[in-house]
């Protein structure tokens, strides 16, 4: 990539992010006029809390999408890891050890996804669709389809504690993981290789990048992010719920795509995904406050996603 095209790329990324930020601001202005409660600190914190699940799962998807693949298994992975965490605690593990084990399980799920995609050469869409069904089935089977209650008082602090009495911990996780993910993606060799593999897999291979390792990396990252979301949800409702987060892969993909991550690979940013997730979160919260039904909320979200994909398409037609 020549220096000038790199610059052009950067500026387009910034432009894309600016579009999303402006869209978010417009939404916020509209909702703050429509509801006097929208801008209250408490409500803004609620939005952060509600956004954290989509956003953290979205980080994983951003990596996978930039590498030119997709991970549809994250919604089921949230439920599976949440249930595993609850079962481990129920089996007598300390909450901290259970959390570490659960993160490892999430990583293992990602690793298996990557093996299917790379070694077994299955199309990512099909492989992770299989994983979506298998993990949901497993989550239901090992719990006999019942929620697993977590009877340890400390565990719920993980998601319910508020820093300085104001900021819910999941918001802190969201920001910290966002910084980490952004650093990995932009400042490290592995991050640059993720872009290279997504832009042109064959060229990346020829230039000596191990496509296999990069695929493993993005899927493991996605699995771990989903398990973080699984742990947060389990902590919030003090139980492992096998039926939870059905369809959340769509939210995570939507957050990434709204934030400018390309479905064709090679393009995207973590900051964009944060704003994408915030748009979804603000949309839901604002419409809730205005007492607009869930059905219209789904409709509105769909329109936003379609619009975002259209912008992505326009960009690709400009040859960026």
């Amino acid at each position: 990539m020549s220096r000038s095209s790199l610059l052009k790329n950067m500026s387009n990324n910034t432009k894309q992010t600016m579009t999303v930020v402006i869209a978010l601001l417009v939404l916020m202005v509209v909702f703050s006029i429509a509801s006097p409660y929208f801008l209250q600190t408490n409500n803004l914190m609620t939005i952060g809390l509600q956004t954290s699940i989509t956003c953290i799962t979205g980080y994983g998807l951003t990596f996978v999408l930039i590498a030119g693949a997709v991970d549809l298994s994250v919604g089921s992975c949230i439920a599976f890891t949440g249930v595993m965490c609850a079962l481990l605690i129920q089996a007598g593990l300390s909450p901290s050890l259970a959390v570490v084990m659960t993160l490892l399980i999430g990583g293992l799920v990602g690793f298996l996804n990557a093996v299917m995609v790379t070694k077994m050469r299955m199309p990512p869409f099909i492989a992770t669709l299989g994983a979506l069904m298998a993990l949901r089935g497993l989550a239901l089977a090992i719990t006999e389809a019942k929620p697993v209650f977590i009877d340890v008082p400390n565990f719920k602090l993980l998601a319910q504690y508020r820093l300085f009495g104001v900021i819910p911990l999941p918001v802190i996780y969201m920001l910290a993981l966002g910084l980490l993910a952004s650093f990995l993606l932009r400042k490290t060799v592995i991050g640059r290789n993720v872009f290279a593999v997504g832009s042109n897999e064959e060229a990346a291979r020829l230039s000596g990048i191990s496509v296999f390792k990069i695929q493993i990396f993005v899927y493991v990252f996605s699995g771990v992010m989903a398990s973080v979301a699984g742990i947060i949800l389990a902590s919030r409702v003090t139980s492992g719920q096998p039926a939870i987060a059905s369809g959340y892969e769509a939210n995570a993909i939507a957050a990434a795509v709204i934030g400018g991550t390309s479905m064709r690979g090679g393009h995207g940013s973590i900051i964009g995904t944060i704003f994408g997730a915030l748009i979804l979160g603000v949309l839901m919260n604002g419409l809730n406050l205005m007492n607009i039904s869930q059905n219209w909320q789904m409709f509105a979200t769909g329109i936003v996603v379609i619009f975002a994909v259209y912008i992505d398409k326009l960009r690709s037609m400009q040859g960026v």
């Binding site: 509600q50 089977a141 389809a145 003090t238 039926a243 839901m284």
Partner: protein, 356 residues
């Protein structure tokens, strides 16, 4: 070519392994997979069910070949598993063979229809359906009739004259009970909101509307601010509960209409330190929601009697097979759980039902 064979062989072995795993694990959890069949003949467990103890139908031995196929709306959650426990207890008491199969989600109409079609082919003697949709289930009910098999419904109904009878909770009455409880607890004063599960479901709407109507009629000073439906997902319900409370700072009470929305409301009340300040009447007493009663976050929970529903369904299905006279409708009733009775034997039988 060799590679191809090796790979096919591996694939085949993986499938066999998976199947054998499923086969080995099924005895403990009869509901391990959606399509799995549950044969419950005579497990000599006793049943404790006030509504449905005495067995009408004839001697146990003679009934052994009678096959009653029962189709719940789903099999996830304590509710359906209590229904299953009741159905199996009835099967054991009456000596009939039953299957209890539901789709994975309570919106998978197609999945339920496929299960029912299989039962027609397996030669079921009576088919009991908890219809997922009052209209969408009409064709399959007609198909069952065409095969000469009598149909009854339970839990919910279908817009058709074909079912011989129905066993269900009167959800409007259950909603009224919730409205009455909330009115009592709020002493007839203040603003209240209702959080419902799935708007498209008649029973979901009946509970909300029943509660609202009762409060309008009996507590005229209470003000209804909103009835909001989440789509049944727990995380979405959490968001909805939080946002209703934000949008109505002077809210004094909430009624939630199923287990998921009840967990959501109680969680948000605890997170915001509003437990006890905003009164909460929930729905469906389970191991988790019972905790909210004990901690004082939730003041009362309306609960159905799923065990009784399962028991009665099988009992009535057998009566239909025996061509006995049955009523057009059976109400399995509902009860109110609060701090005063949560530990009573009667309520504990509902909250922690006898396991299968």
């Amino acid at each position: 070519m060799k590679g191809y064979f090796a790979r096919s062989l591996t694939f085949l072995m993986v499938i066999l392994l998976t199947l054998s795993m499923a086969a080995c694990s099924s005895p403990s959890g009869s509901t391990a997979t959606a399509g799995q069949s549950t044969e419950a003949t005579q497990a000599p467990e006793s049943s404790t069910s006030e509504a449905a103890t005495e067995a009408t139908a004839a001697p146990t031995e003679a009934n052994k070949d009678i096959y009653i196929a029962v189709f719940p709306k789903g099999y996830v959650g304590d509710y359906w598993q209590s229904v299953e426990a009741g159905a199996k207890a009835a099967a054991a008491d009456l000596g009939v063979t039953i299957t209890f199969e539901g789709p994975e989600t309570e919106t998978d109409l197609d999945g339920q229809i496929k299960l029912i079609e299989n039962a027609i082919n397996k030669g079921a003697d009576v088919i009991a359906i908890a219809p997922l949709d009052s209209k969408g289930n009409i064709p399959i009910v007609e198909e069952v009739q065409a095969a000469g098999i009598p149909v009854i419904t339970f839990n919910s109904t279908v817009d058709s004259d074909i079912p011989v009878t129905g066993v269900e909770t009167d959800n409007w009455a259950a909603g009224e009970l919730g409205g009455q409880a909330l009115g009592d607890i709020m002493q007839g004063q203040g603003k209240y909101a209702i959080l419902g599960a799935i708007e498209a479901l008649q029973i979901s709407r009946d509970r909300c509307d029943g509660a609202q109507k009762y409060i309008e009629d009996h507590y005229p000073d209470m003000e209804h601010v909103t009835t909001f439906y989440s789509d049944g997902d727990l995380n979405t319900s959490l968001a909805a509960a939080a946002d209703i409370i934000t949008a109505n700072p002077d809210l004094a009470g909430i009624f939630s209409n199923n287990e998921t929305t009840t967990i959501a409301v109680a969680t948000v009340l605890e997170e915001r330190g509003l437990a006890g300040k905003i009164k909460h009447v929930g729905f469906d007493a389970t191991k988790q929601t019972e905790g909210y009663i004990k901690s004082g976050t939730t003041q009362a929970i309306v609960t159905q009697k799923p065990y009784d529903m399962g028991y009665l369904t099988v009992k009535i299905a057998l009566a239909v097979y025996m061509k006995e006279k049955v009523d057009a409708k059976y109400d399995t009733g509902c009860a109110l759980v609060d701090m005063s009775n949560v530990d009573s034997a009667e309520m504990q039988a509902i909250i922690n039902p006898p396991v299968n």
